[in-house]
Structure formats: structure tokens, C-alpha cells
């Protein structure tokens, strides 16, 4: 399998542009759904939803969950046109297929369900 088992079931914090590119490339090759959480240190709703995202990562082990701090990886946030936090971007085979802006638990899970279904179909 392309995905490494050690990264399954958790939200992986990305701290460098190199690591970011690496994760994205690996994810795209694996054809798995990637969910990127764009966050910031003093963003209340980001902290509010963080534990829930952790639960989702445990539940959807065939999805890759990444976390990016917009102040830490400024260029990534800029390239991906992140405006508000939290923003969740859904990536599949190199394209952004969906996005959720805000700490919207239900919408987040619904969209994961939707895109996971098409990814494994």
C-alpha cells in the first residue's frame, strides 16, 4: 500500500513546506482523500473543532488528515487562498474537490462521507 500505516488514524501537523509537498505528493499518488485543516494559534473555533477532527481521523483511517498553521506556513496559506480559519480543504489526486469554512462539524463529516465514497468507488 502507498499510505504508511503509522500516519493512519491521526491528524498530522505539517511544519515545513518540504514536508507539506511530500505529504501532498504521497497522498495524491495513493489516490486517497486528503483533508487539510488550515488553522491559527489564536483562533477559537479552530481549537473548538480540533478534538472532533481527531475523532474523524480515527474513524476514517483511509483518509489523510493534515494540519497547517497559516502563520507557520505562510506561503502555503497564500497559495491555497485561505481567508478564514478554520478552513478545511478536500484534495483528491492533486485537485481541490471541496472546502468547508468554519467549525461546522456536521458539514465536515458529510463532505468526508461524500468524497470518501467516490474515492473508493
Amino acid at each position: 500500500m502507498a499510505g504508511s500505516s503509522s500516519e493512519e488514524g491521526q491528524v498530522f501537523s505539517v511544519h515545513s513546506v518540504d514536508a507539506w509537498t511530500d505529504h501532498l505528493n504521497k497522498g495524491n499518488e495513493s489516490k486517497k482523500l486528503i483533508v487539510v485543516d488550515f488553522t491559527a494559534s489564536w483562533c477559537g473555533p479552530c481549537r473548538f473543532i480540533a478534538p472532533y477532527l481527531g475523532e474523524l481521523a480515527k474513524k476514517y483511517t483511509n483518509v489523510i488528515f493534515l494540519k497547517v498553521d497559516v502563520d507557520e506556513l505562510k506561503s502555503v496559506a497564500q497559495d491555497w487562498a485561505v481567508e478564514a480559519m478554520p478552513t478545511f480543504m478536500f484534495v483528491k489526486e492533486g485537485s481541490i474537490v471541496d472546502k468547508v469554512v468554519g467549525a461546522k462539524k456536521e458539514e465536515l463529516q458529510q463532505k468526508i462521507e461524500k468524497h470518501v465514497a467516490t474515492a473508493s468507488a
Partner: protein, 144 residues
């Protein structure tokens, strides 16, 4: 196999956290605690503005506390309480422009606070309080 060794090295938390701390010293100042003075200013402002606008703090006061600290952090670094729940390519320019300085234009015009600092009563996450103490802010953000 080699792929296993590689993924192992990437995911060891003890490797990741010192790296991050090291990085923060040079690049990111967001993790530094805002000044006590600015926290107090933003705390008072938040209470007053909640009352004035008829909005309430989140049931989870840690959300309120984090945002107040974020506003204080921007007040310290930029001179203005720029919204901490948005990304800007140029923070100083944005703070000067003022659209996203708290209370931001969407809040003033439509009571929309994406940061969940000021919630209208019908919001699912709205609590019943318009007050928060400095101790509450300290307690709810203690292990961050």
C-alpha cells in the same frame, strides 16, 4: 523495508515538537503570550461590545479566551485588534485598512462573528454570559 523506516522518522512526535519550538524562535511569534495589559483591554472591550450588540459568549469559554488573546496579540504586534481567525497576506496593511479590526465590518453590519467571540442568542453555541474574568481566560488557556 525502507518505506517503513522513512514513515517512522516522519511521525515520531518527539522529533516534531523540538523542531517546531526551534522554528518558532525564528519565524513565528504567534505562540508568544500577549501582554497582560492588552488582554485586559480586549477582555473589557469584549464584555462591553457583547452587551452593546446583544450578543453572548460561547458556551465553551475557552473559545472566547483564545480569541481575546488573539486580539491582544495583534494589538501588541500591529497596534490594532485584527481578527485572529483570518489569514492575511499582509497583516500590517490589513490592520491599517481596518475592515477586519474587531469589531469587524461584518459584525458591525450583520452581527456575523466568524471567530465565535460574539454569538447571537439563536446560535447553537451561544452561552448566556456577556462577562468573562481574567482568571477564566487564564484557566481556560492554561495548557495551551
Amino acid at each position: 523495508m525502507t518505506s517503513q523506516a522513512c514513515s517512522f522518522a516522519v511521525t515520531v512526535p518527539s522529533v516534531a515538537s523540538p523542531l517546531r519550538r526551534h522554528r518558532n524562535l525564528h519565524v513565528v511569534r504567534a505562540q508568544v503570550e500577549p501582554s497582560e495589559k492588552s488582554i485586559e483591554i480586549m477582555r473589557k472591550f469584549s464584555e462591553q461590545y457583547a452587551r452593546k450588540s446583544g450578543t453572548y459568549f460561547c458556551v465553551d469559554k475557552s473559545v472566547t479566551s483564545v480569541v481575546i488573546k488573539g486580539l491582544a496579540d495583534h494589538k501588541d504586534s500591529l497596534g490594532a485588534p485584527l481578527c485572529p481567525c483570518r489569514h492575511y497576506d499582509d497583516k500590517p496593511a490589513e490592520a491599517q485598512q481596518g475592515f477586519w479590526n474587531c469589531p469587524c465590518v461584518p459584525m458591525r453590519e450583520r452581527k456575523e462573528c466568524h471567530c465565535m467571540l460574539f454569538l447571537t442568542p439563536e446560535n447553537d453555541f451561544a452561552g448566556k454570559e456577556q462577562a468573562i474574568t481574567l482568571d477564566e481566560i487564564r484557566e481556560t488557556t492554561a495548557n495551551m
